[in-house]
Subunit: 354 residues, 2 copies
């Protein structure tokens, strides 16, 4: 197999193609060569329609702009890196859609990396970012390159604009887009208490995670607002995954005295926990109410359907991309943006039976 | 806010930092400057441990290798693009993990793009790829850049190695890694028939998708092998999403005479369909058996747990990355690799009651 690796080329017969030139692209796209150059160098100055035509013509002709020359000239790549803590959590899908559509409209492409807590991968991407392979980055993993989540270590010296999304980064002087996790958790706790539940378990996220710290604080505040005592024995450690929900469910099922409601700080955990509890012969919500957090797509079709906190996922992505574009194009942007959440009442939570 | 945008720098007081040099990186990583250069230019020639130390030191010092100079010199980026048709389908998460771990071990980073059927985005990434911003690409979207899924159009002239994964690309002269979709669908159909079901509905994927064409063929072959007639009235159009499953469920519920089993060609559709059917007061599997395809993480915790076809997702990702690395490093690789699937029997399918 030749390196070209495409079915449309004669196989190894030595036929030569004339390299496509900028004129070929301009003709096919029905624009001037200046517009082709602009579409590559300063895409925000070309209409989305013309840009799409140019890019299509580039793809069809196989025109190869010299990337090194272009980088040296414009110092721009028109690519943005999005850093996720865990790509396997379906929570991120709509956020990514919101980021991508906003970036694309402004002429930027999105590339994604899941750093997965690996220091080696993290260093790889810090170098990639520091080397200017992207124009900016949106961080959803709760820390700057080179630092731990609790702010230890020296952050990597990165000179491109950064934006934090969802997981705020304490002390980082970059725009931060988030929801009010504490208020949302307090609201769900008070919702459960308002239905008569006084023994409410809490399934946590990872202790190191700023989301967990905020939600846990909100849980305790919600108990207090409802006049309920905080009982550490009702806190079950988790990490936002389905597996953690299954484990928490097993722990609940094994207890002699059980809480009447469980607040899981992610929908994935709530769905895993419901499954375990139902398998043990308990009923949801008749025997135990279960609440989640996030409103992922599976929440509405869970059995029973899941009462949860809806995060405005698409809008969060759009807001982060807008903030980054503002920085990339020399405008200012607010340091902190907080979007509203919504309590979504479905079938997995019911009033305490008398 | 200054462009640096990092909390560790004095704010606008004009303090200057000495730019980090390769010697600073070498000292911190405890290697020679030659090793630093090699870790950047030919990472496969440096041990993973040394590479990680170098990358970490680069991140810490803020050393910026000149990317344009490096690209001109080595013509390599050590990045691989992974193209997905729909990032929101959780099916891809373990595949991406398999790709990334294999690439990383060989010194390559992974970046992801969700082209989402958009021609403009597609053209953007074709140009990105043609321009050599990545060394290779793994295509999970069923077509070459510039072509439609049914092979129409002229493929973009891309000179870097490509590999197709999951969705085979008919006629493309590139390595293709897949499962035997036809055999798997036939097997599930025969499993349902073997439990006494003779009226089996089929919820399809998008008609244009090669996976759908293969699975539909397998469904018909399975019916034939079981001695059952094929009834077009039992085919419900879908597109692999939860929403399509909900819609298919609504259609089933409204029917006067219903099939006793439904084979959904994705787990997301099966979970959406089960939810609709249960909400209408029918029981799964007592009134209707439901089978899926893929074995996503939610399949085991669905209520009832989902009988499905397990795709070896992580291994599929590893095999595709291995094939691409072989091409990138000048080795040969098989044109077609097929991995085995597994029928996973859970609670959503039961024998037909007498």
């Amino acid at each position: 197999m030749d390196e070209a690796g495409q079915g449309d080329r004669p196989d190894g017969d030595g036929a030569l193609f004339r390299a496509a030139r900028i004129q070929d692209v301009a003709r096919l796209a029905d624009v001037s060569t200046a517009t082709v150059s602009r579409a590559l160098a300063t895409p925000e100055r070309v209409s989305p329609e013309a840009r799409a035509r140019v890019l299509e013509a580039i793809a069809k002709t196989g025109y190869v702009p010299n990337p090194a020359a272009r980088t040296l000239r414009s110092q721009k790549t028109y690519m943005v890196l999005v850093v996720l803590p865990d790509l396997s959590n379906t929570f991120f899908s709509k956020i990514l859609r919101g980021i991508e559509e906003t970036l694309f409209e402004a002429g930027y492409g999105m590339i994604i990396s899941d750093l997965d807590g690996s220091p080696a991968k993290e260093a790889h991407f810090a170098a990639f970012t520091a080397a200017g392979r992207v124009d900016g980055a949106i961080l959803l993993n709760g820390h700057l390159f080179g630092q731990s989540r609790d702010g230890e270590g020296q952050p990597a010296r990165i000179t491109i604009p950064l934006v934090a999304l969802c997981e705020a980064i304490p002390g980082a002087d970059i725009p931060q887009i988030e929801i009010d996790n504490r208020a949302a958790a307090s609201r769900m706790t008070q919702h459960l208490a308002g239905l008569g539940h006084s023994s409410i378990a809490y399934v946590s996220g990872p202790a190191i995670n700023v989301l967990e710290r905020e939600r846990f604080q909100g849980f305790k505040e919600g108990l207090q607002a409802a006049g309920l005592p905080y009982d550490p024995a009702l806190v079950i450690p988790g990490d936002y995954t389905i597996e953690a929900g299954v484990a928490a469910g097993e722990r609940l099922v094994a207890q002699a005295t059980r809480p009447t409601a469980v607040f899981c700080t992610s929908d994935e955990m709530a769905i895993g926990l419901m499954r375990t509890v139902l398998s043990a012969g308990l009923r949801v919500p008749e025997d135990i109410s279960v609440a989640g957090f996030d409103d992922i797509d599976f929440a509405a079709v869970a059995e029973p359907s899941l009462t949860t906190i809806r995060q405005p996922r698409r809008e969060l992505g759009q807001a982060a991309a807008t903030a980054l574009i503002d920085l990339l194009q020399g405008r200012t942007t607010p340091k902190r943006i907080r979007l509203e959440t919504e309590l979504v009442v479905r079938d997995s939570v019911a009033p305490l039976p008398r």
